[in-house]
Symmetry: D2
Subunit: 136 residues, 4 copies
């Protein structure tokens, strides 16, 4: 099955003085794509996850390779690929594509940990959420 793909437009405020996306903003893009993934695929809005269920998935490890620049105005396709669901952790892969290119502009891997938003302690991914995360 084709991976989920969010589309994000590179905005004026995202590019640096070389006219390309400043690399910290790639991380904003993958976070937005993950928020879209939760909404569209997992079936729960990330704001609800945080505000109603008091759960969050902060990042404990991140790796990213940057192969080609993203430019102002690009409609970037960001693929979100769930890689591993542990007891408390979820690992995600990302591939970012410029329009009409088959080679990714960047690829990344991110390990997140299920965390109680009140105590800030890590916790097991609850069954109801695990079921949703495993479904697709």
């Amino acid at each position: 099955m084709a991976p989920f793909r969010a589309t994000i437009t590179v905005r004026f405020g995202d590019v640096d003085r070389a006219g390309i996306v400043y690399y910290p903003r790639f991380l904003n893009y993958i976070h937005i794509a993950l928020e879209e993934y939760f909404l569209e695929v997992v079936g729960i809005a990330y704001p609800d996850l945080i505000q109603e269920h008091r759960l969050a998935f902060p990042t404990v490890h991140l790796e990213m390779d940057f192969m080609r620049p993203l430019r102002y105005g690009d409609r970037v396709g960001v693929e979100v690929i769930p890689e591993k669901l542990g007891t408390t952790s979820a690992t995600w892969r990302y591939r970012l594509f410029r329009p009409e290119e088959s080679e990714p502009a960047a690829v990344g891997c991110q390990v997140t940990v299920c965390t109680n938003m009140d105590s800030f302690e890590k916790r097991e991914i609850p069954d109801w959420l695990r079921a949703k995360l495993s479904e697709e």
Copy 2:
């Protein structure tokens, strides 16, 4: 008395593709200068104000004139001038200077309102804080 002046370095991530500071980031600069003003002049750290006293000063009105660009690497002087202390509101003026220039690069005016961080209701500026804010 000379106004309080914070100094802020223009960072790579602040400039746009024209090599000048993208105007929304001027607002980050005045917020940082206000945080420095609280610490240095008012004598209370803004994080403590929020976290311990449960008070914040969100912005209800903002005006800004942009006269000349700020450039990458500039050490910008940001003057913070308390203009008016109302029952619930505090009004601030700002002047931003490039190094060794006597004409400001930008000037601004900001009205903030004392707000209870738990209820999000506006409230009177408490006497202890009013005393500190009136002192200088």
Copy 3:
């Protein structure tokens, strides 16, 4: 005729520790809405304006009133209303709405000046662009 309205989702990275949009990011929103306005209504992509026509519209004056907070996950409607087209300047009004609210969460006014991206000098708005800007 109804004003042009862009829709912007409030992202995790946009909210502050009070869970509401940090006010400098309102300016990112109005810039994104203006970029959408150029694409959809004026009929020219802002990146092309900058990169091919070497024109930009930096901000020289900004005013904004903030009436109610925007929250994480809100789909914000941002109306862009062209107010005045001068020889070199263009003035824009903005109204930001939370979903299903008829009172704006914020309103703003921004004066921009047509600028040659190579010399950074202000210049007359060229006739072809003036025609497009006057059309709607």
Copy 4:
């Protein structure tokens, strides 16, 4: 020899709704620390490197581990440790510390590539810069 350490204050605009630094902003911090390293240790301002020498060091690979959160108001120490100087690449390690903690809050590794700012092609690190980068 003790590694170079830049100090960065966590600002209001850096923290998320959990009151901790949103992880993409860790990357802003390491970029600021690298800019300080160039100024203080290498002896050339990064803006001059870009604007006068037309050189930049975009990131091609990044790894980061996040061990404990940074909080609003923290004065964060960011160590910059040059790890490897290749023909065209420079590899840097980073360790971020909260005040008075001996265990890092985060560690990172970043591979950057010397790039001609006009052609965007990678190029050999010029001898004069290699000498400076090797010195400390």
